[in-house]
């Protein structure tokens, strides 16, 4: 059984205006999945369905054997699926880093000694262990978002869902989060990144392309970004390196092979 199973899920905020239509997929333990889609494609709704913030109108979301339709398993699901949002300022509850990270464990009744351990674990997982007593207000956007991730990690989730968590960050902040995701993957955390940065999606194992509430394509980054028609239908663009390679080809430069990352482009050009 897969760690996360989404079966025929539909959801609508208003009647007859479905945001998600019959969405199904599975995510295995340790996988890194990216969900890409245009604004209004239903990405954020999907993210909220994964940790039972929203309950599907039809279909089921099953996490580690717990169905989100069952009210009693609500907290079992939220403990397993950590959700990080877009704006770090609106996720931090406390004025001191350690208090904020402690918020989650306090909520689920973890004992004081263990909370201390969890804070140390979560802060070192995001490389913020030196900021234990700092005030989040004085940190950069990337650092604040790392604290928000630590706050979720302190609940020891099996799956980390990043709902456009880099959208409000500058390139340096995005790089910080990418680094954190890399470390977490190494530690075996399943990561689902909801994003509209194609370069970020490139680092995933699999990509789901969401368009108008439906998954129109699933596949490895190479498969997805080679399928220009699907991308066009979903109103998405290709990674920067790919579009540079395209432009070069148009202008008669000999670019061999598929180009998806800066490294690919370098290799293709410097033969």
């Amino acid at each position: 059984m897969a760690l996360l199973e989404v079966q025929n899920v539909s959801y609508s905020y208003e009647k007859n205006k479905p945001v998600l239509k019959n969405v199904s997929f599975r995510v295995e333990e340790g996988e890194h999945v990216a969900v890409i889609g245009h604004n209004g494609s239903g990405k954020s709704t999907l993210a909220k369905l994964l940790n039972a913030l929203l309950i599907p109108a039809s279909g089921t979301v099953t996490v580690d054997g717990f169905s989100s339709a069952d009210k009693k398993s609500l907290f079992e699901i939220r403990k397993r699926v950590g959700l990080v949002f877009q704006n770090p300022d609106n996720q931090l509850v406390a004025s001191i880093v350690e208090d904020d990270v402690a918020f989650g464990p306090e909520n689920i009744g973890v004992k004081r000694e263990e909370i201390k351990e969890r804070i140390d674990f979560a802060l070192s997982a995001v490389g913020m262990q030196d900021f234990l007593k700092a005030s989040p207000m004085r940190l950069s956007g990337g650092q604040k978002q790392r604290i928000a991730i630590a706050g979720v990690l302190a609940l020891k989730p099996k799956i980390l869902v990043l709902d456009e968590s880099t959208a409000m960050l500058d390139p340096a902040g995005r790089a910080e989060i990418a680094e954190v995701v890399k470390t977490l993957k190494k530690d075996g955390v399943t990561v689902i990144s909801v994003t509209h940065y194609m370069d970020e999606a490139m680092t995933a194992d699999r990509i789901f392309v969401l368009s108008k509430g439906e998954i129109i394509k699933t596949g490895s980054p190479k498969e997805v970004f080679s399928d220009r028609e699907t991308l066009k239908a979903a109103e998405l663009c290709v990674p920067l390196a790919t579009s540079i390679a395209d432009k070069l080809k148009e202008n008669g430069v000999d670019v061999r092979g598929d180009v998806f990352t800066a490294e690919d482009l370098g290799a293709a050009l410097c033969v």
Binding site: L53, A94, R112, I115, G151
Partner: protein, 273 residues
């Protein structure tokens, strides 16, 4: 605006800063009681209270002008009460024949000034030496017994600490909105007071709307982190009374005893006279 320090916390490493917030709150309340225990016509009691304020300020390493400055905000109120006392007190003998200003009026005005000044400076020492977060935690801890009569103490404390947490965020936001409106030609500086107040409407409305959006997102984020109220919740922060707090309690107990003693002493004297 980012580094704006709200409240009046004065960061320093001192004996008083290191005291438990609960102890400091209780001592402050006791101090206010002491000030009000001082009987009228008895300046020695006030002198004892003033000595306590000076002693606390010195051990807290707070520059003295800071403490004095804390009166500034209510200076108008102090002056007003003093003037009212002087003008409308009918007791005592007039200072001059047919005059309406009496000696007791003047003395009473002096008492009022001393009382308010002492209470405000004493209370300011609490906020100078305790961060807003510590204060909120301290109040929560002190109110815990009220849980017995089903008062939502935990929720109250959480609301307080979230409000504190969002003050700088909202100040930043206000700043941004004002700049955005200025960039579109809004004028906040000219015109009379009504015009200026009206100019603030295009700032307040976006601020209000964005606060609601923030509240919504914060609620989602709290839900996502398994928040379910105070039920089965543990507390990470542990407050511990130390020898410092014991010393603080002894000193304030000494002050109250002193004030009560001085009151009695005065009566004996008065009877003696």
């Amino acid at each position: 605006m980012r580094d704006v320090s709200f409240g009046s916390y004065y960061p320093a490493k001192s004996f008083v800063h290191n005291m438990d917030a609960r102890a400091k709150i209780l001592i402050s309340i006791a101090f206010i009681v002491a000030v009000f225990l001082v009987r009228s016509f008895h300046f020695l009691g006030f002198a004892a209270c003033a000595f306590f304020v000076v002693l606390s300020a010195v051990t807290a390493r707070i520059p003295f002008f800071k403490v004095i400055k804390s009166i500034r905000t209510i200076l108008f109120f102090i002056v007003l009460s003093a003037v009212l006392q002087v003008l409308f007190n009918k007791n005592g003998t007039p200072l001059w024949e047919g005059g309406f200003i009496t000696d007791i009026g003047l003395i009473n005005a002096g008492f009022i000034v001393a009382r308010i000044t002492l209470v405000v400076t004493g209370a300011s020492l609490l906020t100078f030496t305790t961060t807003p977060v510590e204060l909120a935690d301290g109040i929560e801890s002190l109110l815990t017994p009220l849980k017995l009569i089903k008062l939502p103490v935990h929720e109250f404390a959480l609301i307080m600490s979230i409000a504190l947490r969002f003050i700088p965020t909202l100040i930043d936001e206000t700043d941004r909105i004002i700049k955005a409106q200025k960039a579109r030609g809004a004028d906040f500086e000219s015109g009379n007071i009504f015009k200026r107040l009206k100019a603030l409407i295009p700032v307040l409305i976006p601020l209000l709307i964005s606060s609601f959006r923030r509240a919504d997102e914060l609620a989602d984020a709290m839900d996502a982190r398994c928040y379910a109220g105070s039920k089965n919740r543990t507390k990470y922060k542990k407050m511990k009374l130390s020898y410092r707090d014991i010393i603080g309690f002894i000193v304030i107990a000494g002050l109250i005893t002193g004030v009560v003693f001085l009151n009695k002493f005065y009566i004996v004297l008065a009877v003696g006279v």
